[in-house]
Amino acid sequence: MLEGFAASMSSLIDTTENPRVLKLKDAPIKNKVGVVTGGGSGHKPAFIGYIGKNLCDAVAVGEIFSSPPAQMFYDAFKAADAGSGVACLYGNYAGDNMNVAMAIEMAKDDGIVVKTVVANDDVPSAPKDRRENRRGVAGEVLMWKVGGARAAMGGSLDEVINAAQKAIDNTRSVGIGLSPCTIPEVGHPNFQIEAGKMEVGIGHHGEPGMEVADLEPARKMAQRMIDIIIPDLPFVEKDDVVVLISGLGSTPPSELFIFFNDVKRILDEKKISVFKSYIGNYFTSLEMCGITLTMMKVDDELKKCIAYPCESWGLTQF
């Protein structure tokens, strides 16, 4: 798979000595902070789809839904580091935390400075007073977009880390699952959602949400999801936000646009203005049917980073 991906993107992507680590062809880029991420696979276009110009320099690709071992993160650090340090921007999962921590120890011995930002944008995964326990979900895409842009603008390691941290601190997500997904090796769905029901707050591996509710029209779903994330930051009148709506794998794109239309209407009412929107499959869970809504409040620095051009399989913008 990774071989085919690298071959199809050969003008942009390169393989490395570690077959499970891919990198930007030009990486490491002189005088630029290296941006690295990684995680279990099954989330296409994440993570490899975000290796690209002004995005991530190297990515460690674990097995399906399973954190890559420390060695892979370490090899990704090496592939990305040009001497200016590495920003490792990843999601808050037990395995990833342990493996990244160990990889950082290894990198230290080589004199590679690695700093991290741990995405924890998934509101339903823990109450606000235990925000450090929340998982990272589709908000990671915005974190990479911001971190990648900040690094491309020539930011120092601390500047890149601060921008990415600010991005995720201002980002909130919630997901709703309508049908489960199956890890091919196992062969049966790894959780169930009854027909006519939906799992509100589902995680990116099918982690249970906060509530199982009756299926409802997009308009109500939009209201419900907004009601979960808006008070949490909180997002308030006159805020500028980036909206990212991602299908979880098998959601028809047309439904994402219907859903966006409802979100937009509610935000208009609240006088929250949409600076930019991303609608599509940005962070999936195998073939799960469902949707995630992510909102990031943006200030001038974040706006600049979001508007910055980038090029990758998963996200290209002028």
């Binding site: 097995e63 399973s66 395995g95 342990m98 493996n99 160990m102 090796e185 196992v186 790894n190 099918g206």
Partner: protein, 214 residues
Amino acid sequence: MDDSFTNTNGVSIIFKMIKDIQDNKQYLSDIDGQIGDGDHGINMNKGFTLCEEKLKEAPVNLSEGLKILSNILMMKIGGSMGPLYGLFFKAMAKESEGKEVINADVFQTMLVAIPVELSKVSKATPGDKTLMDCLIPAVAAYQEAIATGESFKSALMKMKNAAVAGRDSTKDMISKVGRSSRLGERSIGVIDAGSASCCIIFCAIADAIFELLN
């Protein structure tokens, strides 16, 4: 020679663990497949087999072998099992390092260090349906046996029995940690895969030490 063995000879413990994990690859994946993602045997076998290959390069003693095993698990095996078992054997390696002879007391410090090390990365406690349900009672049983004056061998036997009982106790539990936790009540009725591998490891250690003590 009835109540201790040398660090040098102790390397047989490593080989026994490798063999038993390899022999149980399918079994571990099968039980993981019932409430998890079905790869526990694959993960464990991969790590222990990589270790076996590494050990072919040069002879080592128990401490060195444990360190190699630990490093491979931590570096090459992803998910949370790599780090967890990596730290498991790192603890045992550290406490045995420099000890030429391993007796009941040294072994006790090796055992006790495991849960201490694991608690740094895992918040799971007994009852959560994880390898902790095997580890904690096994270590406790060994400690208790030694405290009440029992022999090394007898304490090892108690440890082994507690490991088996701990593993079996997970059958009726509702999983609270890891992949299977999302099944809630439906996780009842199946042994936890991590507790099964942990039990295999404790039994392998005990059996290898019995051989060494005879």
